[in-house]
Amino acid sequence: MMTNQTRPILALLCLAVLTSLMTSFASAQTVNEIRAKALYTELRCVVCAGQAIAESNAELAQDMRAQVTVLIAANKSDAEIRDWFVTRYGDAVLMNPPLKPLTLALWFGPLLIFVLGAGITGLVMMRAQSRLVEKER
């Protein structure tokens, strides 16, 4: 039997359940949107030079964005979604090339050239210094 006292408590309970359901649904949606947006910036538009699919309105980029949301809705992880595109388009579909033996030069080449340059500069300065010292003697 429902008394006059339990009725407001029940109503409150219903409201609480309803709002928590609504917010969890909404947050799940926004989480997916955030994930999709992050993936859009990681995947290359294959028909536009040097652009991510986030920035491009090319039809293929639209298709790729749609596919990302389809894969997210199918509960695929970010890594699985990246792999989905890599198996079809190759590593070039990623904006950041993966670090592997073949791409070592790509990642560390500029550092190597910088170290070489710094080394040469240092040696030239040392040589000038030692010449100066020799002259003073």
């Binding site: 290359r44 294959v46 028909v47 030079a49 040097g50 039809e59 293929l60 298709d63 790729m64 749609a66 596919q67 595109f85 198996t87 079809r88 388009y89 190759g90 070039a92 080449g109 190597l112 050239i113 070489l116 340059g117 080394g119 040469i120 040696l123 030239v124 040392m126 040589r127 030692s130 010449r131 020799e134």
Partner: protein, 187 residues
């Protein structure tokens, strides 16, 4: 420190730097290489999981069963992505008609991002080179095949291994490469 040693070290490091940067420039500035082109590769296998899915073109319903066409002929086959809105597709269309007539049952067409009605009109007025043709709804086959644009043509061996892909219309150099690849696929 010894001046001679320093002079030597500067010379060696300088030579290494010049060779390194020179090699980078040599390959990076090659006239053969267009950095705007997306690298297409035959080492990437298309995914056939959605092959045969799509919408029939109105009036071409008899040509809509890709699986039946594939089952009907043994041997290598060709998949061509096209669209009625695509101008370069019209350049290769006469050759496709010729190829389709010479190789019955081997040429499969997929209309990319095209209204099935427009694609049907295109094939009615310009001729249908395809043994089977569908509109690729949701572009699922396009993504599964690693498509970078239309037209794009794929040569497959009988068991579905990718042998050659032409990332552009079958005219000029791409056409002769395609002819060679198709001849090699027969062996």
């Amino acid at each position: 420190m010894n001046t001679n040693f320093l002079r030597m070290a500067i010379f060696v490091l300088g030579a290494v730097a010049i060779v390194l940067v020179g090699t980078l420039l040599w390959f990076g500035l090659s006239s053969q290489r267009n950095p705007a082109d997306f690298p297409t590769s035959t080492s990437i296998q298309p995914d056939f999981s959605a092959f045969g899915q799509g919408r029939a073109l109105p009036g071409f319903e008899d040509f809509s069963d890709i699986a039946a066409v594939r089952a009907g002929v043994e041997g290598p086959f060709v998949v061509n992505f096209f669209a009625s809105w695509c101008q370069p597709c019209r350049l290769e269309h006469p050759y496709l008609l010729e190829f389709g007539a010479a190789n019955p049952g081997r040429l499969i067409g997929l209309a990319y991002r095209d209204d099935p009605i427009n694609a049907a009109t295109y094939l009615t007025t310009d001729g249908n080179p395809y043994a089977a043709v569908l509109a690729d709804t949701d572009s699922l086959n396009a993504l599964n095949f690693g498509l970078t644009g239309v037209p794009e043509t794929y040569v497959f061996s009988a068991d579905g291994n990718l042998l050659f892909r032409s990332p552009g219309p079958l005219i000029g150099a791409l056409k002769s490469q395609f002819i060679d690849a198709w001849a090699a696929a027969q062996k």
